[in-house]
């Protein structure tokens, strides 16, 4: 199992406002811009991104299921399209840290709903940014071994049932992850992401 710390994550104000539907940012009311800027800065300050990952060989891709080396089987309609021809997958768990959950709770308790809106959005922008940095790291690693990275696939998305998250987490050493899986298959900290990338030999 390896660890990667994304260094260059960016949580900017512009995308925060665009997510809310604003096209002309000059027309956004000053108090709204101010809160968005404050929450973007707070999120940037609190973010402690980390990704834990490992490579696992693919045994087979059969129908809508993929069987990994240790015998773990996952199901999604997207597997044949993206994982056929891949020899391995990189499975990962990524988070931007526990401080976000504490801040969200504090904002809820203080009834600061506008701040909460922007802060939660900022958190997801942070996760997205950390994922991009992590993905670039994996792409570089894949190139070195003559491979390319497929699209990211994850339990809870693309018809890959969330219930398979428990099996997914079993691919990692117990207790070594920065993310905890709940019985419901949701993750804590909330600002976390799990998933896999296929490693396909370059033509």
């Amino acid at each position: 199992m390896e660890t990667f710390t994304p260094q260059e994550i960016t949580i900017a104000v512009e995308p925060l406002l665009r997510i809310q539907g604003y096209r002309d940012l000059d027309k956004v009311r000053a108090p709204i811009k101010k809160v968005a800027a404050k929450m973007a800065a707070r999120a940037q300050q609190l973010a402690e991104p980390i990704a834990v990952y490992r490579k696992v060989p693919i045994k087979s891709v059969d129908g809508n299921s993929v069987t990994l080396g240790a015998g773990t089987v996952f199901h999604s309609e997207e597997f044949p399209r993206f994982l056929t021809g891949c020899g391995e997958v990189v499975v990962f768990v990524l988070t931007i840290g526990t401080a976000f959950d504490a801040e969200v709770q504090a904002l809820i308790e203080e009834d600061k709903i506008l701040e909460l809106l922007f802060f939660e959005n900022a958190g997801w922008i942070g996760v997205e940014s950390a994922t991009k940095t992590f993905s670039r790291h994996l792409q570089a690693m894949a190139r070195q071994q003559g491979c390319q990275l497929t699209r990211r696939l994850a339990p809870g998305y693309q018809n890959w049932r969330l219930e398979e998250q428990a099996n997914f987490f079993s691919l990692f050493e117990t207790g070594a992850l920065p993310v905890r899986l709940l019985e419901s298959c949701a993750m804590l900290p909330k600002m976390s992401r799990s998933g896999l990338y296929g490693l396909k030999p370059s033509l």
Partner: protein, 235 residues
């Protein structure tokens, strides 16, 4: 797309003391001046204006105007939240007075995000809008097990329950939760509203929900519609 206009309550002058003006409060709620709203509502209470009149004639016009603008996509969620905060400041003063006049909330609403889903903000926005619309609201938070919904519905004798889900796979738990409510024998006592990014009216129909809220404003409209519909009374 037409610019919504402020709907001035008909006959408001007859319900207010001579020389009284609501226009400053309408604007304060509209633009979200919560401190001014608090002060103005206190002044209205001290003047002896009926709390129901303060709510209907003073607070709702600006709030409803922003709701209409939101529906027309002239404003977005942040503006709506600023308005909601001002509305809430006024309501906090009015609510105990309404209760003292034996005015009941328009309905008891239980809501939460379904099992497996940790997304909070969407339902928090709906919660604040429902409270402002006069519902007694209990927000169970995220990752809520169907049993918890059932327990709370029973305990509070809820009129409505709402489930939010943001993941395409956790919307399935909206169906599971409805099925469990049915099995618990509560389906006729409570109206069910669903929402969340992957949901649609078709999905709501498919899983047997009574209504679908496309956004927070629509959720409130749906809740008001559903509360007027017949259902089995709680024993």
């Amino acid at each position: 797309m037409s610019e919504p206009r402020l709907k001035i309550p008909e006959g408001w002058e007859e319900r207010a003391p001579e020389g009284w003006e609501w226009s400053e409060l309408w604007e304060a709620v509209e633009v979200g001046k919560h401190i001014f709203t608090d002060e103005f509502v206190r002044k209205a209470i001290d003047t002896g204006i009926n709390p129901r009149t303060i709510l209907d004639d003073g607070l709702f016009p600006g709030f409803n105007l922003q709701g209409d603008r939101f529906t027309e996509q002239i404003i977005f969620i942040p503006e709506m939240l600023i308005t909601a905060r001002a509305m809430k400041a006024g309501l906090a003063l009015i609510r105990p007075l309404l209760a003292a006049q034996a005015e009941k909330p328009i309905g008891v609403f239980v809501m939460g995000t379904v099992l497996g889903d940790m997304h909070d903000i969407g339902q928090s926005i709906v919660a604040i809008m429902l409270e402002n619309a006069g519902f007694q609201l209990t927000n169970l938070g995220t990752d809520v097990h169907p049993d918890k919904f059932i327990e709370t519905i029973k305990e509070l004798k809820a009129d409505l329950v709402g489930f939010s889900a943001l993941l395409s796979t956790t919307v399935y738990y909206q169906k599971v939760t409805i099925d469990e409510i049915e099995k618990a024998g509560l389906r006729d006592n409570v109206k069910i509203l669903i929402g969340g990014a992957p949901t649609t009216q078709d999905w709501a129909d498919e899983i047997g929900a009574d209504g679908w809220g496309r956004d927070a404003v629509q959720a409130v409209k749906q809740a008001k519609r559903l509360i007027a519909e017949p259902r089995t009374a709680w024993a």
